[in-house]
Amino acid sequence: MKPQISKVIDGEMSVVLRYFELIALSALLLSMFYVTVTAAADDIPDYFVPPPPFSEDIFPCSGCHADMEVNTTRRKLDFHENIVLKHAEEQRWCLDCHNANDRDKLRYASGQLISFEESYYLCGQCHGTIFRDWKAGVHGKRTGMWNGKKQYRLCVHCHNPHQPKFKPLAPLPPPIRPDDIKYTESASDEVPRNPLESLLKSESDHAQEH
């Protein structure tokens, strides 16, 4: 009898064990999935990133592209002629980053889709070290509070994704050389203005025009 009982017990135990194993395994898998998903989400600091800087009236792309036939051959476009690709243009073309079938999305090299709001993931595919620094707040411009809410920017707010290299700027005027100082105490003279003020004004006027 004894061995039989033990067999039964063994059998029951093994069934229970098998169930347990299954549950444990699925739980493990689930938790792994959860961890990777949440880790990916937590990776990006919860800071305000403004919406992508689309040209006016260009988005959603499906507004035009929905009715167009998809042509995946590399060619000179009749539309978007103002976009000149200078970003590894030998190896790349529009549809390597823009998704052919759903134009309102971008795509990874793997084919997975990504929204324009999260385009930093797309850039991060190649520029991994820069992406790491950006997440830490070291690459790129930060404004806001040093010990509070920070304003992040998308890569494309500063870099034109089609021509990412910065365009040269006109510098503000150099300081006055000691030899050139023409100071008099008379307060009637017009006080020189900060050249930055006029620059900021012209930039905001320019932004309003567009």
């Binding site: 509070m145 010990n147 150099p174 300081p175 006055i176 900060n194 003020e197």
Partner: protein, 310 residues
């Protein structure tokens, strides 16, 4: 005759010390212009050192200054005396591989900190260096007067220099009136009311970060920034020294804004944060980038880190 004079010498209850004291006080009172002598002049003349004032005394001084500034500039200033935030030591990072020498920071600083437009004072100097030459030890030979149509120029790179907020500041050591000192959050500040304009600190500073008001500072009324700190960007007078304070009027708040130069930099080369916070941006720079500090051999131990990001 001789006997008479000897008899006349009588000891008086006035000693040498009180005579000297009386003379000095008498002369000092003559120096104060009685014609316009109102309470304000007396009070500013006998104003205590900032660190010796209690909160009430500070408030009195602030009120007095507000009326003085309103009279002089026609602008209502909001003058803060915010204390350092406990557990904060400010540090600054500057990415030399990003800086393009556009001088936006120079004038952003001028806008924020009410520097005199004429005579001109800039707290930030952007130095231009030729690539491939010896540079960091001979930076006096660099130029800050470069003026091409566009920057960055081929074959050149740029290094903005401002107050390095040394942990061991030589300027503080030499001040004869203790008008400048290092605060607990690491910012070296100046009480302009105690500065006598001897410019010892300017001679002592190895970074050329201190600037002197040779004339009465002049700023157009519309360009004045009315949000000021007593130890920072409040309007200065002729004959005092001034310098970068990491925008003390912004950064000492909780939450506090980034300094103006960080905010305006178009290439994001400037980084700022709390050196005591392991999660801060500046700590990330120090731990992950190749940082250096200017003239480290002088043992001034700046809290301003230059680095080259990849």
């Amino acid at each position: 005759m001789r006997k008479n004079t000897k008899k006349k010498i009588v000891s008086r209850p006035v000693d040498r010390r009180s005579v000297l004291k009386g003379t000095v006080m008498g002369l000092a009172s003559l120096a104060i212009p009685f014609g316009t002598a109102d309470a304000s002049i007396w009070e500013s003349f006998f104003q205590k050192h900032f660190r010796e004032m209690n909160d009430d005394e500070k408030q009195e001084v602030i009120e007095r200054m507000k009326t003085e500034y309103a009279e002089e500039y026609g602008v209502d200033f909001n003058i803060r005396t915010t204390n350092p935030i406990p557990g904060v030591l400010f540090g600054y990072g500057l990415d030399l591989s990003r800086c393009i020498g556009c001088r936006r920071c120079v004038y952003g600083c001028v806008k924020e900190n009410n520097q005199s437009r004429d005579p001109q004072i800039h707290w930030i100097s952007v130095l231009q260096f030729e690539k491939g030459h010896k540079w960091v030890n001979i930076f006096e030979e660099a130029t800050k007067y470069y003026n091409p149509h566009e920057v960055p120029e081929e074959d050149f790179f740029y290094m903005p220099v401002q107050c390095q907020q040394c942990e061991n500041p030589p300027c503080v050591k030499v001040c004869p009136t203790q008008a400048t000192w290092k605060e607990r959050d690491g910012i070296t500040v100046i009480d302009y009311n105690w500065c006598i304009g001897c410019r010892y600190c300017m001679a002592a500073c190895p970074y050329g970060a201190r600037h002197f008001n040779w004339g009465k500072p002049r700023v157009a009324k519309e360009e004045l920034n009315p949000e000021v700190h007593y130890l920072g960007n409040r309007p200065r007078m002729k004959g005092v020294v001034e310098k970068c304070t990491f925008c003390i009027q912004r950064t000492r708040e909780n939450p506090g804004r980034y300094p103006a130069c960080v905010e305006i930099c178009p290439v994001g080369a400037r980084k700022f944060g709390n050196l005591l916070d392991p999660e801060s941006e500046i700590r990330y720079c120090i731990e992950n980038k190749r940082v250096f500090r200017l003239k480290e051999d002088l043992n001034t131990s700046p809290k301003f880190y230059y680095f080259f990001a990849t």
